[in-house]
Each structure stands twice: as C-alpha cells, then as structure tokens.
Amino acid sequence: MARIIVVTSGKGGVGKTTSTAAIGAGLAMSGKKTVVIDFDVGLRNLDMILGCERRVVFDFINVIHGEAKLHQALVKDKRLENLAVLPTSQTRDKDALTRDGVEKVLDQLRDEYDYIVCDSPAGIERGAHMAMYYADDAVVVSNPEVSSVRDSDRILGLLSSKTRRAERGEEPVKAQLLLARYDPARVEKGEMLKVDDVLEILAIPLLGVIPESQSVLKASNLGMPVVLDESSNAGKAYLDAVKRLMGEQIEHRVLAPERRSFFQRLLGRTA
C-alpha cells in the first residue's frame, strides 16, 4: 500500500518540480517502487525535468477519461527501473481533473507502488487542491524569502482543512518543510532568512535544507534528477531528505558557507 506524498508550495518557481523529481528518483534509488505524477494540467514539465519528454504518449487525463489504460500512460525511467512518471495533459482544460478520477487512478497505483509523489501546480486552484487532497504526507517547498514563506503558511492551512484526511477527521497530513535555494554565505552575512527563522515562523518539522547550487540548473538542462549527480551538494541534501521521508534519523548537515578557492573566485565558479 503506497504512501501518497504531495510536493507543494503555493508560490511558483521555488523548486517543486525539481524536488519532486529528486525525491522520486531518490526513493527509486533506495529500492522503493515509485511513481511521480504531474498535476499541473496545461503546463506539463515534470517529464522535461526527468528527461522523458520525448516518450510521452498518453497522459493523466486520458486515463481519467478512459481513453488509455494507466499502464500505457506511465513512462518508465530509463535510468532507474523503480521509477515511473504519469505526465499531465498539455492541452485539456483544468476541470478535467476530477476528484473521482484522481481517486480511481491513485487507487490503482496504490497496490503496485511503494510511493506516489504528486507534483502540485503553483497557486491554490483546482490542480493544487487535487494534488493534496488524497495525500498522507506533504513536502512543503519554500525558499528563504518572505513571499515564499507566507505562501507556504497558506498551504499549511489548506493541508489541515481541505484534504480527505482533514474532512474525515483522520490523522492529519504530515507536513514537513523542504527549504530550497539556501545560501549559507548570505545567511551568514545576515542577508537571508536562517533555517531556524523559517522553522520558527512555520512551526513544522524540517525535512531538509537544499543549498543553492549550480548543479540544479545543470541537471535540469540534461533532464536528469539532481540526485544522480554524485558531486552535487544539492543532490546529497535531497538524498538525506529522502531518507528522512522514509523514516530514517539522519542528522542535518552543518550548513557552512562554501569556501571558494582563489581560482574558483577568479573564474566565478562554485562547485
């Protein structure tokens, strides 16, 4: 019986899709059968980040409408055998995503997979609502920046009231913070909110801190989840977060500013 995890944020551009891809790939690397689902109807992108965009045949909405079987719409990852993607529709209207339709698809996936990771669209409209409705866990992606933290707080409110667990009075959705694009050097200079500041404001457990890293853009360019880049600090941070998500106790790494050598500074590069 799979656990359903929603990756959500409210604000756009904070790293939801990057995080979904990294978490999905990280779970698959740990031997867990994982499916990632794109809920952003009309703006398909998870396929691009995972590098399978040219192999998409059918989508989530085709399955809901009965035009394709679920197994036909799932795109298997070429690098990780435990990972599959259910792409969203690129053309249909957003009303196509119905609560019953989503439930039917999730129920079918539940028996076959260990984890179902739902990539929420930005905003608080239908797609975001559908992505969180059936969730057991929530990964709230935020950046150390005021509007992002504010929107995360809004999303936390919705998670505790507008989900099936909330409506049925069951154990609430377990929401944890994933703080992305964190720059320890700027935090040290007092230019950026500290992890502790954000935790104090949002008052939820910390799943992980992802350092700002050039490897994230590189991974996106190549269509490869960043966890597959062994030299990437961001990739390592995501793998730690994945272990915590699976229930392991992993200490948070000390987040020290990256020391740059004379040559790196000269070249304007960071690792």
Binding site: M48, R54, R55, V57, F58, A68, Q90, T91, L222, G223
Partner: protein, 102 residues
C-alpha cells in the same frame, strides 16, 4: 560531427543539451497543438480492427512513442494469447489427444 562542433559542444556544457531538447520538443508540440489529440483515437480504431480477427486483451496493449529530430517512432505492441491459453479456452471440445485416448 566535425572537430569544430566537438569544441563548441564542450564549451557549451549542459546548456547545449538543454537547447537541443527544447528545440525537438517544441517543434513537436507546436504541430500537436493545432491538431486534435489523435493517439487515443488511433489506438481505439487500431484495436477495433485487430479485434475483428483476434482476441485482444486491453491490458496487453503497449504504445511507445519516441520523438526525434529527424524522425519519430510509434510502436504498438499487442500481446496475443499463447498456445496454452488457447488450448485452455478450447477445453470442452474434444482435441486430437482426447480423441485418441478414447
């Protein structure tokens, strides 16, 4: 690929890969958005034709697509019942073997 390209590629790093992926995908998507979604219909009609002659299990139909720069491939894989299954289905009717035993 000539030697010049080789150098250019290494200087461009991952950005070159990003540009190429986008060019291929968007070329396909711009065309697709003008036409109705044909794949679900194509699949339905294709299976309807095959079902006239053969037993097809909906769950055993696999459709694979690979969009490329020069060409794209559409692969439809239909798994048909094997000898054992067919024999199982034919039970009740006397087969050559049972006739001989009798």
């Amino acid at each position: 690929m000539n030697l010049l390209n080789l150098f250019r590629r290494s200087r461009e790093g991952s950005a070159g890969a990003a540009k190429e992926r986008l060019q291929i995908l968007l070329a396909h998507e711009r065309v697709d958005s003008e036409a109705p979604e044909y794949l679900p219909m194509l699949q339905k009609e294709l299976i309807a034709v095959i079902e006239k002659y053969l037993d097809v299990d909906d769950e055993k139909v696999e459709v694979r697509l690979e969009r490329g720069r020069e060409l794209s491939t559409l692969e439809v894989n239909i798994e048909l019942p094997g000898a054992e299954k067919l024999q199982g289905r034919a039970r009740g009717r006397p087969t050559a073997g049972t006739l001989l035993q009798a």
